[in-house]
Structures are given as C-alpha cells and as structure tokens.
C-alpha cells in the first residue's frame, strides 16, 4: 500500500513536470518564431549610411546655375548659406523626391566647426544621433556631403522613420 503511494507520487511529479516542460517549450517556440523567424528581409537602406540616388541629386544640385550663371557650389562658397534660389531648389528637389521615404530632410552648409547652419527652407540640421540616458540611439538614415573648402561643406541629411 505504502509502496503504491510512492509510485503514484513520483508519476504525478513527472506528469506535472512534463506539462511544465511542454508549456515552457511552447512559449519559447512562440516567442522565437514571433521575434526572429519572420524578419528575413534585409533592407539595404536600413543598414547603409548612403543613399546613392539622393547623393546624385545633391551633386547635381550644387552644379546647378542660377540666373546669373553662377553655380550653387560657388554661391555657397561666398554666402556660406542657401539663398532664395538654392533654398527653393533644395526644397523642391529633396522634399518632393524623398519626403515619403524620409522623416527628416536637411540640406545646408556647415561652419568651420562642422555645425550645420539653420536656413529658412529646410530648418535646423537634425542631430544624427539621439543621446539617451544610458546609450546613444542611432536613427537609420543617409548622409552625404560636398566639400566647399578645407573646413566647410554642404551636407545632405536624410533621417528615416523608426519602424
């Protein structure tokens, strides 16, 4: 009688243990397949820091001549910021062509310290990284620049929406 009780007790322990093991495994499979299994679509724009197509637009932008025949590159060299012509053109090109893909778009000049100069057409240069409390959150996007002189450059910053 005592022996049978011991046997039933041990069997019950194993039945309960099996149920727990199956539940834990089921949860592991569910979490693993929900988190990792479905995302096997590498996105070149998510990992790349350059956007070849948008870069082409920037290079052509700085080579565009205004009504006086001066190219925007020269104008940026002299004025150190966008003027009416270059500002309007930058807005038309970059907002119209890339506004759907990117959340924040900025084109402008940087000063000798590398800080972007605010302009009335595309606003302030967005910070490429957001400083968190413990870590730095990197926002996916693309960046391109054209050197104006040794210290200054014209930059294109495109920041993507965080999914």
């Amino acid at each position: 009688m005592f022996n049978r009780r011991a046997q039933i007790g041990e069997t019950m322990t194993w039945i309960v243990a099996t149920v727990i093991i199956v539940v834990v495994l089921g949860m592991t499979i569910f979490i693993a397949s929900a988190s990792f299994g479905n995302d096997k679509k590498p996105d070149i724009q998510e990992v790349s820091k350059t956007d070849i197509i948008a870069s082409k637009s920037l290079f052509s932008f700085v080579l565009t001549k205004d009504s006086s025949g001066e190219i925007i590159y020269e104008q940026l060299k002299e004025d150190k910021n966008l003027n009416n012509f270059s500002g309007d053109l930058a807005e038309r090109i970059f907002n119209d062509f890339y506004g759907e893909e990117y959340n924040q778009i900025w084109v402008g000049s940087t000063d000798e310290f590398g800080f972007g100069k605010e302009n009335i057409y595309l606003g302030k240069k967005p910070s490429i990284t957001l400083e968190g409390k413990d870590s730095t959150l990197h926002i996916p996007g693309a960046f391109e620049s054209v050197n104006i002189d040794e210290k200054r450059s014209t930059e294109l910053v495109l920041l993507r929406r965080i999914k």
Binding site: N3, R4, A6, Q7, E10, T11, W14, I15, A17, T18, I21, V22, L25, T28, I29, A32, S33, F36, G37, K40, K41, P42, D43, I44, Q45, I52, I53, A54, K56, S57, F59, S60, F61, V62, L63, T64, K65, I93, F97
Partner: protein, 172 residues
C-alpha cells in the same frame, strides 16, 4: 520477503520514470528541430536589395559626376540594356528564363515643366509592373526612385526609375 517487495517496486518506478525521460527527450529534441527549421528553413528575401542595386546601376548609367550623361538622351527600350551593361538573364530554375524576372522603366522629364524629354524606356517583363503599389509577400518587389540632374547647358531634369524583381520561388 519485505526486502524483496521493496526492490521490485523500485524497479517498476524506475521504468515509469524512464518512459517520461524518453518522452521529454523527444519533446525537447523536436522543439529544437522545429525552431531551427522554422528559422533557417525560410530563405532570406533579398529581392528588395536586388531591386535597389538595380536602381542604382540604372542611375549610374544616366548620371555621372553630377551631370546627366549626354548619350543617355539617345537611349531607348531596344538599346538600353546594352548601353547600360545590364543583363537580365537568370538561372533557368522554375522556368525563369521564359518568364523574365526583371522589369525596369526609366523616364526622363523636364524638372520644371514635367514634360517628357525622351520616350519612356521599358525593358523586361512588363507584367511585373502590376505589383507596384501593392503589398504581399508573394508579389514581386517594386522600387520607385527619382533623382535630379542637370546637363552642362544647365537644363534641369527629373529621372524616374522603376525596378521590379520577381524571383518569388527562391526568396519567399
């Protein structure tokens, strides 16, 4: 007599436990196999990357060093692949060479007026274009990009590129 009973009962209990041990061993093994198969069994879908690379190659063909390539205004649907060094041939699995797996459409318009500069170039399987704007894992992947360009006479252009890649069987 008492001692003998005890020994027999212990053996019976061990047998029952070992059945559970085996059951758990199989359950754990099956779960591991399922996880590995569910992750590695699904192929990487690289069609989006391929379509983006194709778009970049087409853009390189139309614009170099910030200027529109002069000869690109002579491109048409017949000479486009040859001029841009593109080959749309694929491996012949799933009869892919009969049903072409790529489609590219390029249009060059005036940046200011929007007027057509050259007739639209389209090469490859035009049926693939139907998937553009639609969502679905089994549909071909479509990439639409535009860029701004100028020529040396300061004419301004908008170049629109549509690249579609099918290859569903090997990517989904």
């Amino acid at each position: 007599m008492k001692m003998s009973n005890l020994t027999r009962d212990k053996k019976g209990s061990d047998r029952i436990v070992s059945v559970y041990w085996f059951a758990i061993l199989f359950i754990v093994a099956a779960a591991i196999v399922y996880l590995v198969v569910s992750f590695y069994g699904k192929p990487y879908d690289v069609r989006g990357v391929e379509a983006n690379v194709l778009t970049s190659r087409v853009a390189d063909c139309f614009s170099k060093g910030g200027y529109l390539v002069e000869s690109s205004l002579q491109f048409n649907s017949e000479n486009f692949l040859e001029k841009c060094d593109l080959i749309f041939q694929t491996e012949n699995d799933y009869d892919w060479n009969t049903l072409k797996q790529y489609y590219v459409e390029v249009s060059v318009t005036d940046f200011n007026s929007g007027g057509e500069i050259i007739p639209s170039i389209d090469v490859g399987n035009i049926n693939l274009k139907d998937s553009c704007g639609k969502e679905g894992e089994n549909l071909p992947v479509c990439v639409r990009r535009s860029f701004y360009s100028v020529d040396r006479e300061n004419n301004q252009y908008k170049v629109n590129i549509i690249a579609v890649v099918r290859k569903t069987e090997k990517n989904v």
